[in-house]
Amino acid sequence: MYEVKLEAFTGPLDLLLHLIHRLEIDIYDIPMAELTSQYIDHIHAMKELELNEASEYLVMAATLLAIKSRMLLPIHEGEMEEAEFEVDGPDPREELVTKLIEYKKYKEAAVELKELEENRAQVYTRPPSDLSGFVPDEQLALFDLNVNVYDMLSAFQKLLRRKQLKKPLSTRVARQEISVKEQMIAVIDSLKLNGGKSNFSDLFPYEDKSTIIVTFLSILELMKRHVVFVEQKNNFEDLTVTLQKEATYDELEQFDGQN
């Protein structure tokens, strides 16, 4: 029904902005009934996820309902005239709109930061040279007194980045590519070894990312073919992978075309 994944939102305001954009709503004149119902539909889709933020999404739903009901309050005969003249009267939506607009500014600023982050990642620096050879023996230097614990953390961060730079070329070239088909067989073999059942995470004893990806894809493929069955007993528990039937090599062979 909804193509949008709820995990994609950073909070209730983010979800509201998304809906306002998608429904092409004028943010200064929000049709509360429509927005509220769409919002609540999304919340329903979310209930299974048991997110930490669920309560915050619910509070927002309550607020939307409250605003909506305030706008629906019948205007009595006597007040009608007054209401017509009172153009500047408080709009129940005002606070929400102010909040959305304020939040939107920072959301857009975050997009600009993302761009800066990408640009910065295009240029490389080098670590400072080792100058210990130049240091006279008697000189023992220490940082000045303005150094704080965060400077120390920064030093550590820099170091970590530097270490990534030192990874030798050889680890990234000439890596043997493993096919999904081969990995499907490896997964089945590993399940057989464990009596036909295994924890999902135990199927990933690999260090390098591409093997992990291929293994993941191969499990998806096995699921699709009903060769394995995957279940989760409780939220956040590890998944259990169970071998349902044994796929023949001929059957796996068919995968080549797509690989």
């Binding site: 607020t63 500014k105 600023a109 600009e112 910065r120 990874k167 070329l169």
Partner: protein
């Protein structure tokens, strides 16, 4: 000092200090040359790098210091050799929190959460641990909440010379934040409570 020899010395120093960078003032003290001359040599160096296509380097001001970096158009080549130091990019939530801190610093966690309408402890923790934000003081009043601000590493990470280089905050309706937020929170609470 002769400009050429000054440029050579500066280039050598920039090379040696690496990503620690060096300020024009430090260069002036080290080389015992006045700031005017240093600035002139630095600008000449920068031009040299950018105009000569056989050069792979450029001069950048990051977090207030001059540093040598590789040219951005060579990124694809370098990527083949080394891992990108900034490969662990920040999540949308972290970037959102970081934007709020960058533009509104010093700011408390509660203020950030009011603005975003969502708990923000985890993104803040991530940002602190990545040395992009730090505690810059304590708010007045009860609780003395931690005030957050950005670090030098923040400037470095986003390739900024200083905070003034941050892109201007997108326009929105300007409101007196605190008052508005307080009012909103009160109403919010009322609405919420009335549901229970």
């Amino acid at each position: 000092m002769n400009l050429n020899s000054l440029m050579a010395k500066i280039e050598a120093l920039l090379f040696v200090v690496g990503d620690d960078g060096v300020t024009a003032k430090q260069l002036s003290q080290l080389l015992e040359v006045d700031m005017m001359e240093i600035e002139a040599a630095l600008s000449e160096l920068a031009t040299n790098y950018s105009e000569n296509e056989e050069r792979g380097l450029e001069l950048k001001t990051l977090a207030g210091t001059y540093q040598l970096t590789t040219k951005p158009e060579l990124a694809d080549t370098i990527k083949k050799l080394v891992e990108n130091p900034n490969s662990q990019v920040l999540t949308t939530a972290s970037l959102e929190v970081l934007a709020i801190i960058a533009y509104k610093q010093p700011i408390t966690r509660t203020e950030i959460e009011d603005l975003r309408g969502v708990k923000s402890e985890r993104p803040i923790q991530t940002l602190v641990s990545r040395a992009l934000v730090q505690e810059v003081g304590r708010a007045e009043g009860t609780g003395r909440a931690i005030l957050y601000g950005t670090t030098k590493e923040f400037l470095n990470y986003f390739g900024l010379k200083d905070l003034n280089e941050l892109p201007p905050l997108p326009e929105g309706t300007t409101v007196d934040d605190n008052e508005e937020t307080d009012l909103f929170m009160t109403k919010f609470q009322e609405a919420f409570n009335s549901k229970e």
